[in-house]
Every structure is written in C-alpha cells, then in structure tokens.
Amino acid sequence: MTPAIELTNVSKVYRRYSGRQFATLKSALLQRSILRDLQPSETFPALTDVSFSVPKGSTYGVIGRNGSGKSSALKLVAGITKPTSGTVRVDGRISALIELGAGFHPEISGRENVFINGIMLGLSKREIQDRFDDIVDFAELREFIDAPVKTYSSGMYMRLGFAVAIHVDPDVLLVDEVLAVGDEGFTHKCLDKFSEFRRRGKTILLVTHSLNLVERFCDEALWIDQGHVQTVGDPKRVVNAYLTAVEENEEQLMIATTAKALEQAGQEGQEGRDGSEGKKGGPVDPTDNMFRATEGRWGSREIEITDVTLLDANGQPSHVFHTGDPLAIRLKVRAQQPNDDCVFGIGLFNAEGVCCYGTNTYIEEMQPAALAGDGEATFAIDALDLVEGTYKIDVAVHKRDGYPYDYHRLLYTFRVKSRTHDVGIYRPRHSWKFSASVRFPATRG
C-alpha cells in the first residue's frame, strides 16, 4: 500500500534576506540586481535531508523542541511551501489545522465566514450547506453564528476555525499544536473527533509538544531536532529518547546557572573577605536570613567549601533527577588550620524560595566535627520525594553558634522531573485504596 505522506530527502532552506534590509525597487532597478536581490544573501537550513513516510490510516506524531523544524515539515506536507530539494508526496485531500480561522474576515458574520473558509479549504457551497449544522454545533456557537466574527472571543474564533477545518473531511489531517485552543470539554471533543478519524482509516499527522498525547494516540512518532530526524518509530521509545535529550539539555542549563551563581558569589565573597564582612557579604548569623532567598556566599573561609557536587544513583554528577530518585550532595572542604568546631549544614529550596528542608549536623545531635586539611562530607537522600520543579541548595560550614566559615546560599540548582503533574512541594510515598463500590472506567483514548 502506498503511504499517505512520503518525504524523501527533503531539505528546506530559508532565506534570511538580511542584506536586503534597505534595498529598494529603485536601487534594484538601477543596479539591475532584482534577480540577484531575490537570491538569498544568507540561508538558514530548517530541515536537512529529512525522510519519513506515514502509512495510510495511521496517526503519526512529530515532536521536537521549539524551532526544530516541526512546523516547517508540516508546511511542506501541506504544500504551503516547497522543499528546497527532495520530494514531498501526499496522497489524498489534505486539511491543515495550522492556523485556525486564518482568513476569517472580522466584519462579516460567523455564518458567512464558515462558507468562505470552507470554500478556501476546498469545499463546494453545497458541501458546506450540508455540513453547516454539524460545524456550528461542533463549535458550540449556534446563538452567535450571525454575529460578526470580530465580536467573538478568541476561544470562539478558534473553535469555529477548528470546526470548519475538521469538517472538510480530509483524507490526511495535519494538526499543528492546536489542541490548546479550547477548554477541557472542547479538547476532549477534538480528541474524540480525531479518534473518529482514526476509526474511519484517515491519516493524521500531529505536531505537538504534548508527549502524553503522542504516547496515547500515535501509532508512530518522529523526533526532529535542528532540522534532522533523530528517531523514528514506536512512540514510547521516541518520546523517551526525546525526554533524555531534553534532560541533557536541562543539565547543561543547570550547570550554566550554577556556574553563573558561583561566579557572582565569588566576586561578592572576594569583597566580603576583605574585612568588611557582614556589611556587604551578608549576615553573620545565617538563620536571620534563612527564609530570604538571595543568592550569595559569605563567611570567614577558615574552612572553605571548595566543591559541591550533586550525585545521582550511580554516583555520577548530575543536575536532573526524577521524583523518588536518590540524590547525594557531596561537599569538599578544606580547613586552613586544624579546627574542632565545625558543623555541616544543608538547605533545600524550591523555585519560589520556600525552604523545603534544612538541617545540619549539630541539629542532628552530632558533636562538632574536627577537621584538618582536606575533607569530604556527603549528604545522601534515599528518595527525592519532591514534585517536579527547579530547586536550589544552601550548603554551609559554620561554628556551633552559627558563626559562618563558608556559607553558599542558593548557588546550586537542580531540577526534579516527574511524569505526574501533582502539585505542592513534597510528594509523600502514597497509594490509593477504594472500596468495591468505587469503579473506574477504562482510561480513554
């Protein structure tokens, strides 16, 4: 069976025209450079050698970061733009849900816009007449259909656009991240409509950031990154590969954030050490400042924290963790002189600056430690029971009475990821139990 959509070695290069900023028709004519000016001065490859094929009747998900070329690919399939090289072949009537309600005229009524939009999408007047009631009911706009479209709310506008496009009854439906248009109820209706399309053996190409949707809905998925095909195949596998890459990316981001924070703190700390400690570098008693989330570093540096590393389950440095993973914070310290009044402290803050947890060795009834030369202290969490989010860490070495040797406030950042969208800060280990009278229907989709 021939595939519904087939891209073979497709590349798309956008022109930037940057040098053309001030070119005018006159200068173009005078210098006889019209044709040259229409040539790209600088190019940007949106897609490079992309090949994939979508079998008839399947639902195909395309994922990738912003600017990775997903929408460019969709526009090529829709025929709106032409590939720079390679071939795009589509079998059957296409309807593209790329921009909903593109071409609606604000001054005329919803009714007239439905007709004109339908004609633009390739329907005949009669076909629209036949489907008109379905369209209006689907958009839930019966009472407003004769009002000018300019009086519609953006949700109404999108719903009407969606309703028209979906009733074109295409063989191939292209969807570009448009499910976010309506309220919960409308989104469900759209998904039901997609399911109906699937049952009727139509092909759907779905570009989305909703990985859930891809996993639940698609038969096959494609991950594009920077215009290159990364992975094709089973949605679960592709989504996981994508998530891993996203985490690596976040890891880089966290490292950069931490490095920047340290650098800034280093500059401030330098000033703080020059005698004027407490005036600029922060309070002598850190508990004063415990709940004020300003980054910084202060202390006398009699004992210095030379390195802070977050370790994952395998003891590897990491900045991205999953809910429930083990996490260890390893401090490397160096005492300038032998010291026997040394307390190690840790504080955990969420992105809003709320202290999630704080402790130190003295609170936990350990005697002040003695330290000479280099040492290491590791704070190990068995299971990181936090909800998804970005968290920051305080680490400190100080005297029993709070006099700080080296206090690093919020300098280290890590991210907790979770596939559950629960809320709050703490995620207790839990389970649900129900009596026999509570029944759950099979999950939808």
Partner: protein, 264 residues
C-alpha cells in the same frame, strides 16, 4: 504555468465569494450600506458639475457638458487606480492565508480588481441618469463596444495587479511608488482634457503610448460622443496586448509564488 491558469478557473467559486465578502464587509456597520456605492460617484459628479459649470466654467468646445465628459473617463479610472492600490497591498494583507493555508495567492489581487469592477458597475446608473438629465444620449450602436472596453480594461488591470502585488511582497516601496505613478498617470491620460486638444495632438505619440489613453478615449467615444466609434482599432490592439501582458505578468507571479509564503 498553464495548469495553474486552468486552476484559476476552478477557483471561480472562491473568487466570487471573496468578492461578495469584500463588498459586504466594506459597508458593514454603515447606515446607508450599499447605497454608498451610488452616492460616492453621484457626489463626485455633482461636485464636478458645480465647479466646472459655476466656479470655473470650461468652455472648450466639443466637450460640453464638461462634467459629463470628465465623468466618462473618471469612472473607469477610479476602477483602475483603486484596483491597483488595493492589489499592491492584497498579498501583504492576506499574509495569514498565504503563510498558513494552502491558498492560491493570485486570487487576492484578482479579487481586488473584481471588487472595484463591481463598484464601477454600480456607478454606471449614475452616469446613465446624468446622460438622460443632460439630454446627451450616446449612439446606441456604439454601446456594443462598451462590454469590449470593460473586458479589455479588466484583463489589462488584472495583469498589472498581479505584477504590483507580487513585486510589493519583495519591495514594500512599490505601494508608495504606485500611489505617485497613478497620480502622474491620471494627468497624463486624456481624462480631464480631450484627446482633440491641440497640445495633445502635438505630442500624440506620447499619448498613444499610454495604454489607458485608449481605454479613456474609447469610453468617451462610446458614452459621450455621438457618432461612430473611431477608436476601435486601438482598443482591439490594446486588448491583444493586454492578453499578452497578462500572460507575462502571470508568468512572473508564478515564478515568485513560492517565495510569498516566506517573504510576506
């Protein structure tokens, strides 16, 4: 290119509904609505009549009543000029359609031309009414040529509309240049003065090189002057030329088509 031209015929449903939409949207919200299409040319004609009968009488023989003479040329000129200025903006204004929907771009400038053609037709009853009021009946046989002149102008205007719309996407200056060119062009065309003027006759070749001269003169001969139309050869030649021009402009438009979605 020719397959695209053929599909243009397939889009006639789209074109007619877009023209209807433009017309509807134009007067939506105004109290008088469509009546404006009559009132605008009527007021124009009344002003000309007043100015050139009372304020600044133009006694040039052969073009009396002067206001009527002028109106015969201004009505088609308005169609022409408004079409081009709207067409120049049509692709840019319709950018959403071109970028986000698979949409035949050439429909947009053509819709601009056709919309203004409807306004032109709506102005005709005013012209006819004044022809009757001034007791200045045209030659009934000449009127056969009227549809010919309209078709020639339609093809000619569509050709230029395609050209300016496509160029305006890449060179936004086209819109400003066009506004000035149209003003110059208006005065370079025998609309407010007759072709028979002595000065005009001296530089006849320049005026003959101006395509719109032949349209204006044809309209004047058909609607204003009594007697057999002497300009039909020029009109036919312009008709043939317009078809060629249309094909050339369509070819250019077609070549630039793929760049629209990116450059708009």
């Amino acid at each position: 290119m020719f397959s695209n031209l053929k599909s243009l015929i397939r889009y006639r449903g789209l074109i007619t509904s877009l023209v209807a939409r433009e017309l509807k949207a134009r007067y939506r919200g105004s109290v008088l609505g469509f009546v404006w299409s009559f009132i605008n040319p009527l007021l124009l004609l009344l002003i000309y009549s007043f100015v050139f009968t009372w304020v600044l009488p133009n006694p040039t023989p052969g073009i009396q009543p002067y206001a009527l003479f002028m109106f015969c040329g201004i009505l088609p000129w308005t169609w022409f000029a408004a079409s081009l200025s709207e067409a120049a903006n049509s692709l840019i204004a319709g950018g959403n359609l071109i970028k986000k929907v698979l949409f035949p771009a050439e429909v947009l400038p053509i819709v601009s031309v056709l919309t203004n053609m409807v306004h032109f037709f709506l102005g005709l009853p005013i012209l006819i009414a004044f022809l009757i009021i001034y007791r200045h009946p045209p030659d009934a046989w000449d009127l056969i040529w009227f549809p010919v002149a309209v078709v020639v102008q339609l093809v000619f205007t569509c050709a230029l509309a395609l050209l300016v719309s496509a160029l305006a996407v890449h060179f936004r200056d086209v819109r400003d240049i066009l506004a000035n060119v149209l003003t110059l062009w208006f005065f370079a065309t025998p609309i407010i003065y007759p072709m028979s003027l002595e000065t005009v006759q001296r530089y006849k070749w320049i005026f003959n090189a101006n395509p719109f001269t032949h349209l204006a003169v044809s309209y004047q001969e058909i609607l204003f002057y009594y007697g057999p139309i002497g300009h039909w050869r020029w009109l036919s030649a312009l008709g043939a030329l317009s078809v060629l021009l249309f094909l050339a402009c369509y070819w250019l438009f077609d070549r630039l088509r793929d760049s629209f979605a990116e450059a708009v």
